[in-house]
Structure formats: C-alpha cells, structure tokens
Amino acid sequence: MKVTFKDVTMSYDGKTDTLKDLNFTIPDGTLVSLLGPSGGGKTTTLNLISGLLSPTAGQIFFGDTDVTKKDALARKVGMVFQNYSLYPHLSVLDNIAFPLKMAKVSKAERHAKAKDLAKLVHVEDQLDKKPGALSGGQQQRVAIARALAKSPSLLLLDEPLSNLDARLRIEMREEIRRIQRETGVTTIFVTHDQDEALHISDNIMVLANGSIQQFSSPQTLYDQPNNLFVAKFIGEPVINTIPAQALAADLAGAVPEDILKQAETAGIRSEALIPYDAGENVLAKLHGKITQSSKYGREATANITYNGEHLLSTEMAGVSGSQPELDFYLTKSGFFLFDQSGALIFGGESHAK
C-alpha cells in the first residue's frame, strides 16, 4: 500500500521538533530504506507509520485513507523490531500464529498459515522450540514470519540486522529482499548502515536532523547527492572534501566562473582520481605527491597531498613507490561542488555526460 506523509511534524517534548514538515510518498510494492545517523528521526518516522506514535501536526495516508488518528491496532501493519520482541513463553509456531490468534482465527487455520510462513522464511524445522533456543538469524526469520502472518499491507523493519554478525547480516538482507519480492508487500526498512540500504532498497530516504536530505534510488544517491551531508554519508571510503579554493586554479575553464565563485567545498570520490588520461571523462589534470599507499585484498588506497590538502584515491594501485611526485586526473563523474549552505551546485550525472 502507498504511504503518504503530508507536512508531518513530530515533537516528543513540545519544544524541539524531532521531525519537521516531512513530506513524502512511498510507492506501493517497493522496498524503501530509511537511512541516516542516530537521532536523525528514522525510528520516529517508522513508529509514526506503525501508529505507535501519533504526529504533533500533519497527516498520514495509507493509500487514500487518512490514518493519522488511528492507532497501531487499527492500522494493521506488520513490524519487525530491532530486538525481535518474540514472546519468550510461546513456541515458534505460536509466535508466528499470535497475530492470527488475536484476530480470532480458528486454531487449525492459524497453525496451517503459520506453517506456510515458517516455510517461506525457512524455519519449518524449529516450530516447537522456544525463541530462546534459536540463533539470532532464526529469531530474525521468525519475527519476519510473525509480522507477515496477518497479511499486512505494510511491513516495517526497525534495524532488523543490527544484532547479527557480519556474514549473517549479508545473508539475512538477501533473505529480506527475497521475501519482499515473493510477497510483494510494501516494505520500509530502517537502518544506519549505508551498505545495507544500498544493497536492499528500491529507494532510499536519507533522514538527518529531522528532515529528508534526499529520497531517491541508491545509484542516484551516490552519483548525484543533493547536498554535502548525503555526499559524505554515502560511499565507502568517505568522499574527499577539500575547500573549493584549493582547486580553483586547476578548475578554471573546466567549471563556469560564476559557479566556481559560489563554491565553498569540493567533494571528490576516491575513484575519481585516476593516474591516466581518460579523455572525454576527465575534468582536470592535477599535480600532487603520493605520501602513503597500502593494499588490502583487492582494495588499494593511496594518500595524495595536493596543494596542502589530503586526498584519498582507490585507483592508484601500481603507480605508487617509484614515482612519488606525479600528475593525475580528476574525472567528471564523482566530482561535486557545494555552496556555503551545502547544496550541490556542480557535478553529478547531468554535468558528467
């Protein structure tokens, strides 16, 4: 189901706004991530959707229905909590069947449905165990099955992977994606891990300081960040940021003069610094010095000093050592200029082509 927020403001204490004038629409059948740093308003947004919180101002719509005044009971969404909140006194089967029991579905029917869901999430061999006897990943699967039990119009996941170890996290995020595709349920996924969000989502909403920084597809988020915050938040290693002034001389001619004048900060992705001339795609030729280079598995990084600023490149493998002082090239894609307020004024796909 489509979810729409209209001018939603949320304040816990009546003084500071945790969320300010939020407006967005989550399309039906998609998987959307709410991404952002701690305290950015992700979980608050999710709880507003679930109905566990009600907004201070504004309206929330499911489809075309105004649900602002409805509580969690009436909204009928499915939710997976960060710590799963599986009922410790019930078996896996009863946990999954719990929402159906609350809806007064007959015992035979709800057990049949719960078994189907257990099969969907691959825990059909654990039905008689108590949640305490399951591993983290299995608990996670049970929690998802429980959330899906009442065939919700919306599936909400609140940092569902943060309690799992690294390998299991990757496995479970693929699982969530698979289950979402199989069921087609509109899914909203809260995370602070950009890697998770980039891999799993159709669209990502970056939330920080109580407002939406950017709401777009993962690729757009990376290639065309709306502002300096998004550019810094998305991408690993973190984007190089240096004062635009340091680049001014080398960029003259390549970037319109009025834009260069407004530019405050330059953002350079580590893969935008290459050791060879790539022709069309090159924006400028720079000169600098490699101070340190290292290699981790398939990843190589080089620290470059340029005009007294430090830059990190991941494309300099093999160049280092023999020629510490060198010319290198700045590509059009992966280079951005931001003005004083942090808004993007140059760079991104429209300029790179």
């Binding site: 969404v77 939710m79 410790p88 719990f98």
Partner: protein, 297 residues
C-alpha cells in the same frame, strides 16, 4: 585467579569464612530440626532429667485420634485457602492499578507497604477495635448495606473469617511491591509488538502480562502458602492469647504452642510440628510440579 584449581588449602580457607554463619545455622536451625524429629518419636520422656525411655509412633497415633488436632488442621487449611488466592489476585490488581498511576504512585506505594512494616500486635489492636461488635468500623460500614451487626471476634462462625480478612490486608503490601517489580521487569517492547500484532488491552493482559508475571505469581503464592500454614502471631494478638471463641481459630501452630507451653506435652508438640513440615513439603512439591509446566522464566 580464574583458573585456580580447588585445593585442600583453598577449600579450608573458604570454610573458615563460612564458619561463623555455619555455627549459628547449625546451632539454631539444623540441630533443633533434627532434635524435634527425634523428639516426635519419644514415647516415654522425662523432661527434667532429659531421659528417654521409650521410642515409637504413639505421638502420631495420638494426633490421629485427637479431635482438637483435626480441628487445627481443618482451620489451617481453610485459612490457607481463604487467604492465599485472594491475596494473590487482590495484590496483582492493586499493583496493576498502581502501575497506571503516574503522579502520586510513591505515596500510594508507601500507604500499601505500611502494613508490612507495622508490628502484628499493633495491627491486631487496630483490627480488634475495627471488628468490635458495637463500635467497630466494619459493622458500621456493613450497616450502610443493611447488614446486622456481626460479633466478629466473639461469634465462632465469624472469628476465622475475621482472622482471614486481617491477614489478607496485612500481606497485601509486600506482595504488591513484588508484583510491581515483576510488572516493571516486563520489557515494554512485548506490549508494542503485541499491539502491532493486533492485541487489544485485554488480550495484551492475558497473553503478555499474565505469562510474563508467572515467576512472581509463583513466588508470591509459594511464599503465601508457607506463611499461612505457619499462622500464629495474628491469632495470639487478635484474640488476646486464646485460639478464638470456641477454638474457632485453632491452627496447627497454635495447637503446637498449646501442647508445648501450656500442657508441657513436648513430644506431641514435636509430632504436630513434623506433620506441619510434611504438609508444607507436600503442597510445595505440588506447586513445583505445577510450575514446571506453567511458569515461564
């Protein structure tokens, strides 16, 4: 060191630390228990010379045939059945209400806890007055509903009920505190999850609160049953050193007390203590067996 092996020296050192408590426990608990078990088997016993010239089960046969002891067992069971379930349910309800009160909950907690820290004698004196046939508050209150004055403390039909009412009131405070602790220990996330799962307030109570409180409910009821089986001081204080009108409030421990201190029949008193011991043991074992199935930790 964490990896230190237990040696004779380390064990001896540990025993040394345990010794003071051990001496006290053995002198005042273990030895008397063993002694009273033995004493219950004395059939010919001279208290003044501490000479035992006969052993056997005659004391238990005596109890088996003593109508007073039958009455004591009957009264004790009625008391337990009257006090424990109502205490558990009432203290749970009050704890739930207190949990809802946000503003002056501290005040209410103190008020409900006061009976626990007040001396039984003082409580009994107050209730003695409240139960008074002519001037008592209880009868005055009942008169609003057209109930005729009841001689709570002098009518054998009501004396046990009076004791039960006072005991329930006295034990509420502590149990309310236990239930409050239990309620606060339930993770709020379960309620949120249940709400999302479509459980209304009543369903949340029966499906989350009650099962999650079961360890506390178990503790409160075991504690209550053991305490109620041993009831004595309330009777002694409420009826000024008598077992109530027409022995209406004669319980096992009161029977034991009478045999020991007023009739000097020590072996009989010891035997009734042994019977009480096995009665409590039996009930507790039944509860433990029940808890295996129904208490969720």
């Amino acid at each position: 060191m964490l990896n230190e092996k237990a040696s004779f020296k380390s064990t001896a050192k540990a025993a040394l630390y345990l010794l003071p408590m051990l001496v006290i426990t053995i002198t005042f608990n273990i030895w008397p228990i063993i002694n009273s078990f033995l004493m219950s088997l004395y059939t010919k016993y001279d208290f003044y010379t501490d000479k035992v010239s006969g052993w056997g089960f005659d004391n238990f046969v005596y109890l088996w045939n003593d109508p007073d002891f039958h009455l004591a067992v009957r009264n004790t069971l009625v008391f337990v059945v009257g006090v424990v379930p109502i205490t558990v349910i009432l203290s749970l309800i009050i704890a739930l209400l207190l949990n809802q009160v946000k503003i002056i909950s501290g005040f209410f907690r103190t008020v409900y806890f006061l009976p626990f820290v007040t001396s039984t004698v003082a409580i009994a004196m107050v209730w003695n007055w409240m139960f008074h046939g002519n001037y008592g508050l209880v009868n005055y209150f009942l008169s609003w509903f057209g109930v005729h004055p009841i001689n709570w403390l002098t009518d054998p039909h009501y004396a046990l009920l009076a004791l039960i009412i006072m005991s329930i009131w006295k034990s509420l405070g502590f149990n309310i505190i236990l239930f409050l602790v239990g309620l606060n220990n339930i993770d709020h996330g379960y309620y949120e999850a249940a709400e999302i799962d479509g459980a209304n307030a009543r369903q949340r109570f029966w499906n989350i609160t009650i099962p999650m409180l079961s360890p506390i409910t178990f503790l409160v009821s075991v504690n209550g049953i053991i305490g109620s089986f041993k009831v004595f001081d309330e009777i002694f204080a409420l009826f000024q050193g008598t077992p109530g009108p027409g022995k209406a409030d004669l319980t096992i421990v009161y029977y034991l007390y009478q045999k020991f201190y007023t009739e000097y029949k020590y072996p009989i008193a010891a035997a009734s203590g042994v019977v009480l011991f096995f009665l409590i043991l039996l009930v507790t074992l039944v509860q433990l067996w029940y808890s295996r199935k129904h208490v969720h930790y």
